[in-house]
Symmetry: C2
C-alpha cells in the first residue's frame, strides 16, 4: 500500500508548512501586479509534443480510452503560451502555482519528484528591452530573501551570447541545442568531462570544444560584459553583440534595484529547455559546508527562467509572436530545505488554527456543548469539541495541550444555571467566567 | 487550438472569483478544526479500481510507459482512505481541496467538467454516534449560507434504512446496490420511469417495485422518522431500526445547531457511490423560477456526503476498519451560479491587487521609476509600472483606470530635484507631495 512512485502524500504539518511557503510566493507575485490564471492538468498531447527538446520524452501520456489523446502538463509555460495564442492575448502579467508531471528519476531527498509544484510568474508583451527581464530577477531575489534561505547567487546568461560563442568557435547551427545541453552540465561535472561529451557524443572537433571551454568557464559582472563586448571575435557576431548589449542594460537596471551585486554573469549557464531565446537565469543557494543538519540536502537550482519569444508563435496559425519572459520558483527544493530546518529546530508546526475547545466537566452535557459550539461557529470562532458524549475533563484539556488549542470554554451544571461560560487559558490555567 | 474536452482555462477574473469562493470554504473547514492534507493526483490503478461501483468505468488511466500502472484520482475520498490505512491513522479531521478527474459527459453550462475541484471535509475515528455526522451537515449549512446562494434544502437519508426498505419489500441482497442507483434517479425522473427501470433493467418484481415506491416517495422531518419507527414492517428490520434510531439522534443534534428546519429526511436519496454505509446527505439549491438571469443554470446538488465505515478497511491488510463520515462541496456548480450572478450584476472583479502605479510625466526617467518601485516592493507595497522607457503620462493614468489601481506615484524632474514624490488619487485627481 503506497502512493505512486515519485509522488508523496503531504501530512498536515507538511501541508501547513507548504501553505506558508506558497503564501510568501503568492504575496510576492501579487506585489508585482500579476493576476492568477489556471489551466488544466490535462492537455491535448499535440499541445505538449515537440516543445521541450530532449526532455520531452518524460511526458506522461494518458491511455487511449476513446476520445482524445491526452497528456499531463510538463510545465506551466507551454500551457500559458497555448492560452495566450488561443485567446489572442498579446499583453499579460500572470502567475500560476500548480503541479506538473515528469516521468523522471525521482530523488526525493533532494526534492526531485514526478509530481511537483511549480510557481511561475511571466510577463508577455512587446516592451522596451530588459525592463520585464530585470523584474523577473528582482522577483527571484525577493522570494529567496523573504524565505530567509541564507546566501544565494543568481546566475544570468543569454542564449544569444551562447549561440554567438558557438558560432565563433566554429560549431554548425544544427549542433547549437545539443551543445547547449552539454554546457549546462558544467555546474555538476568538471570541464574535462563536459569536453569529452562534446567531442564524443556531440561530435565536436577537439579544437572547437577547447575554444568553447575558454568562454564558458568565464563568470563575472558588468565588467565581464564590457570585456566581452571588446572581444575581437565575439564583437563581430551579431547575436552575441545583441545579447551582450542587453545584458549591459540589464545590469544597469539591476543596479537601480540594488541587487546587481548578487547577480553573476556566467557563460556556463545554458538551461536545458529549447524554447529560450534571450536572457536566461538560475538561482542557487550557497550553503556553507558545515551548515548541514541531519541528512545533507544537495539542492541544485531553486529558481530559473528566461526569455522565450518564439513559443506563443508556435501555437498561432499565422505564427504571430508574443515575446515572453518568466521565472519559475523551485518550491519543492526550497520546501525540502525548510522542512529539514524545522525538524532540526524542533519547532512544532500547528496544522490547525482552532482557538477554543468547548468542554464540559460533568456527564450528560453534550447538548450544552453542541449549543455553545454552534454559537461560536456562527460567530466565526474556530472551535472544536471532542466527539464523545461524556468525555473526561482531563482528556479534553489534554487534547488542547496536544494540539495547541489556547483556550477551553467550559460549560458545567453551575455555569448553565448561572448562564455563563468559564473561559480557561490552557497554558496559564487562569479562568474567567463570562 | 483548444484545451482538452471537458476542461477549461480559468482567466484572471474567474480565477479571482474562484479563489474568493475557495477562501470561504477553507475558512469554514478551518473554523471546524480540520487540518489540510494533500495526496497525489496520480494513484496506482489498483488503489482506485473496484472502489466506486458502476461509476468506476469513468476513471482516467495512464498509458503504460514502463514502471507502474497509474490512474488519475476520481475523488478525494478513496485517496484519503488509502492515506489513513497506509499510515495506520485511526483518528483525524482533515480537509482537502483539489482537482479530480472523470471521463464523464461534460455539461459545462451546468458546471459539469472532466477536471473539477472538490472541497472535502472528513472526520475519521471511532466516536459517539451522530456527533461527527451532525457537524458535517452543519458545515454544509454554513458554507451555503456564507456564500449567500439563496434558499437551499439539505436532504438526509441512511443507507441502512434503504437496505431495510429493500429487505422488507422482498429484494435479494445482491440487488441492493443496483436498486440504490435506480432510486437515486428519483430527483431527475418521475416515479413511473424509475419503476420501469427497476423492473426492466434491475429485474425486480412489479409488486416489489410498488412496495419500494410507497417508501421512497416519503419525506419529512423528525415526525417521519418517528412514524417509520412505528412502521410494522420496517420496525422488524434490524438495519432499518438502527438507521432510524440514529436519524432521530441526528435530528436532536441538528435542532441544537438550530438547523433542523432546513433538513429533510428524504427516502428517495440514495447516492451513487458504493462505499456509503450509514447516513447520507445532499444539498440542493432552491431557485425560484423567475430568478434566472441570462441562461438558466440547472444546478443539481451542490454538496453531498455520508458515512463510509468500510472503505479504510478495504486497504488494511488485516481489514481493520476506521469509521469515517465526510462531505464534499460541489464548488464548480456553485461557481457557475456565482459567475452568472456577477456577469448579470456587471460587477467588475479586479484580478490584481496593485495599490500604486509608479509613473513619470517626462522622458528619460526610467531610472527614477525603477528606483522608486524597487523601494516600494521592498517595503511590501503592491506596485506596478509600465514596461516602456518613456510612456506618456496619460497612458499611465489610463492604465490605472483600466485595471483599478487607486494611486499613482508620480516622480518628475521637479520632484527629483525636491526629493519628493507626488501621490495622485486616480479617481478624485487629488494630489499630495510627500
Amino acid at each position: 500500500l503506497r502512493p505512486a512512485q515519485g509522488t508523496r502524500d503531504q501530512n498536515p504539518a507538511r501541508t501547513a508548512l507548504r501553505d506558508r511557503l506558497l503564501a510568501a510566493v503568492v504575496a510576492c507575485f501579487k506585489r508585482h501586479g500579476a493576476a492568477a490564471i489556471d489551466t488544466p492538468v490535462l492537455e491535448l498531447r499535440e499541445t505538449l509534443l515537440g516543445k521541450y527538446g530532449e526532455e520531452g520524452k518524460l511526458i506522461y501520456e494518458l491511455q487511449d480510452q476513446g476520445g482524445e489523446l491526452l497528456a499531463l502538463r510538463y510545465d506551466l509555460t507551454v500551457p500559458f503560451a497555448r492560452y495566450l495564442a488561443m485567446n489572442k492575448i498579446t499583453n499579460m502579467k500572470r502567475y500560476h502555482i500548480a503541479k506538473v508531471y515528469r516521468r523522471d528519476n525521482p530523488a526525493m531527498t533532494r526534492g526531485r519528484y514526478r509530481e511537483f509544484y511549480q510557481c511561475d510568474f511571466d510577463i508577455a508583451g512587446q516592451f522596451d528591452p530588459m525592463i520585464p527581464d530585470a523584474e523577473c530577477l528582482k522577483i527571484v531575489h525577493e522570494v529567496l530573501s523573504d524565505l530567509q534561505l541564507g546566501d544565494f547567487l543568481i546566475k544570468v546568461n543569454d542564449r544569444r551570447i551562447l549561440n554567438g560563442v558557438f558560432a565563433v568557435c566554429g560549431i554548425p547551427d544544427s549542433k547549437f541545442l545539443p551543445t547547449c545541453s552539454t554546457v549546462d552540465k558544467l555546474d555538476k561535472m568538471p570541464w574535462e568531462e563536459v569536453r569529452t561529451e562534446m567531442i564524443g557524443e556531440r561530435g565536436l572537433l577537439p579544437e572547437a570544444a577547447d575554444r568553447i571551454g575558454e568562454y564558458v568557464r568565464l563568470h563575472g559582472g558588468l565588467d565581464l560584459v564590457e570585456r566581452l563586448l571588446q572581444d575581437p571575435r565575439l564583437s563581430q557576431n551579431k547575436l552575441a553583440k545583441e545579447g551582450l548589449g542587453d545584458l549591459k542594460l540589464l545590469f544597469e537596471y539591476l543596479a537601480l534595484f540594488g541587487i546587481a551585486g548578487e547577480i553573476s554573469f556566467d557563460l556556463s549557464l545554458a538551461r536545458g529547455l529549447d524554447y529560450y531565446t534571450g536572457v536566461i537565469f538560475e538561482a542557487v543557494l550557497l550553503q556553507p559546508e558545515n551548515d548541514h543538519v541531519g541528512e545533507p540536502v544537495g539542492v541544485g537550482s531553486v529558481a530559473g527562467g528566461g526569455r522565450y519569444d518564439g513559443l506563443v508563435g508556435m501555437f498561432d496559425p499565422k505564427g504571430r509572436k508574443v515575446p515572453c519572459v518568466g521565472v519559475s520558483i523551485g518550491i519543492e527544493r526550497i520546501f525540502s530545505i525548510l522542512e529539514q530546518r524545522v525538524e532540526a529546530s524542533k519547532e512544532k508546526i500547528r496544522p490547525t488554527e482552532t482557538q477554543v475547545l468547548v468542554a464540559t466537566p460533568q456527564k450528560n452535557l453534550v447538548a450544552a456543548r453542541l449549543k455553545l459550539i454552534s454559537e461560536l461557529w456562527n460567530a466565526g470562532v474556530k472551535a472544536e469539541m471532542l466527539y464523545k458524549k461524556d468525555p473526561k475533563l482531563l482528556k479534553q484539556l489534554q487534547y488542547c495541550e496536544d494540539t495547541g488549542i489556547p483556550l477551553a470554554a467550559i460549560v458545567g451544571e453551575q455555569e448553565l444555571k448561572d448562564g455563563v461560560v468559564k473561559l480557561r487559558d490552557v497554558a496559564t490555567r487562569e479562568e474567567v467566567r463570562m
